[in-house]
Subunit: 251 residues, 2 copies
């Protein structure tokens, strides 16, 4: 048996997220269907990140095991021929049998995209959250510093989540402006449920002068979801890259 | 009567271009419909640029004449409430009664968007032409120099066009890379039918090593549409900005 690692881009608009569910279109279900069609057998695909309904990806990672003579690099082409056009495998390669996409991920990068303009630009509607009031970018950038490091991010975790620990490490958090676009770029060792979107919602409130830097500091320290801002819409979020350790990026 | 100038962004995917035609959805028809609904009278809207089927815009310009007490800046909001979500008025302002959007334009900027990647990125499918073979950007940039200046662009004009003269001036032509994206940015005093898309197609052939710099020079000099490359697909093209002279950008 070979273990194949896929790197996958998708437009999340029409999907109820990554994870297979009854009576819902999901990315995982589409990829399993394409694999089963290609290899004529039942195949279980394991994903690194359970992206939510409407969230997009450029670099989702998933694996499956298969006995096949198709060269590993060619599997991407064969799967793309069987996938809907809003899901595209970017790379397929054989990895060690011990590789686990979820547990071996050492960091992840997400981008949250915003159009900050008086009126929405229709071409960018589907992949950007629209904010019509002028955002104070400098203040948002100032606020990002409070999130860096190992912290308890309980205030930025959806209340209906049950995890062992709400401590995570954020390595980088930046607000990049290329008017009228704004991108919040965040890299961390892992993210709680809705964490990036709650951080984005909070930074937007800072940019709108609804929150001071001092208040953001208090929100973090409160460990109380109710203190932070609303979750920013899914369509602005893209899972950009998942990092693995080891020489060839897969340990 | 006041003359109102609109600056309009649209997603061209679902439209048969700007200009009103029988039995086709067009941008002009949608804007006239919204104006007529707002002002309860027949209104003729005049556009600066007849964008083609599937071409997008960030800065199309159009005018119409109306007797109204609605403040000019507010008309954008009122029209947007009446327009489909893929057409959005970005600005409305009163201009001098002599202002003509088509004849007073002094230059226009178009961007042609390309994804140059082994596999398409589905989120960017609708607004980018996809080229999977690696493009030689330096060679494309070298070729752009040949287009700058006042020249006869007959080789870059769709054969089924009848214009008085095929001489136009290109002020700037650049190929900008932000991998995996490539943008061809062109500014000129006016463009022939399909001119930007034929230039884009020709530059892509340069990038794919199908054409040498010398051959591009010969294509320009030949004044023969058949010598240039195929017209690049409409979905990559965006009308970005139309410039007007005068103090307040409208003479």
């Amino acid at each position: 048996m070979k273990r194949i690692k896929l790197t996958i881009a998708y437009d999340g608009q029409k999907y109820s997220g990554w994870q297979i569910q009854n009576n819902a279109n999901t990315i995982q279900a589409e990829i399993e269907k394409a694999c089963q069609n290609l290899f004529s057998q039942e195949i279980k695909v394991i994903g690194a990140s359970r992206t939510d309904t409407g969230v997009h990806a450029l670099g989702q990672v998933a694996t499956f095991d298969i006995d096949t003579s198709i060269p590993d690099k060619k599997i991407a082409y064969a799967l793309n021929a069987r996938l809907p056009e809003d899901i595209v495998v970017q790379e397929s390669k054989e990895v060690h049998n011990s590789f686990q996409p979820r547990y071996h991920a050492i960091k992840k990068t997400y981008h949250y995209h915003i159009i900050n303009n008086e009126f929405i630009l229709p071409q960018y509607r589907a992949y950007n959250h629209f904010v019509s009031r002028k955002l104070d970018i400098n203040k948002m950038q100032e606020a990002t510093k409070l999130f860096i490091g190992e912290k308890d991010f309980k205030s930025f975790c959806s209340a209906n989540s049950s995890v062992k620990t709400t401590i995570r490490t954020i390595y980088a958090l930046e607000v990049e402006q290329k008017a009228p676009f704004l991108t919040i770029k965040v890299t961390g060792n892992g993210f709680l449920y809705n964490m990036v979107r709650i951080i984005a919602g909070t930074l937007i409130d800072v940019g709108l002068n609804r929150l001071s830097i001092q208040e953001v500091d208090e929100i973090i320290k409160s460990k109380n979801r109710a203190k932070a801002s609303p979750t920013a819409p899914a369509k602005g979020l893209t899972l950009v890259k998942i990092y693995y350790g080891g020489k060839d990026d897969e340990s």
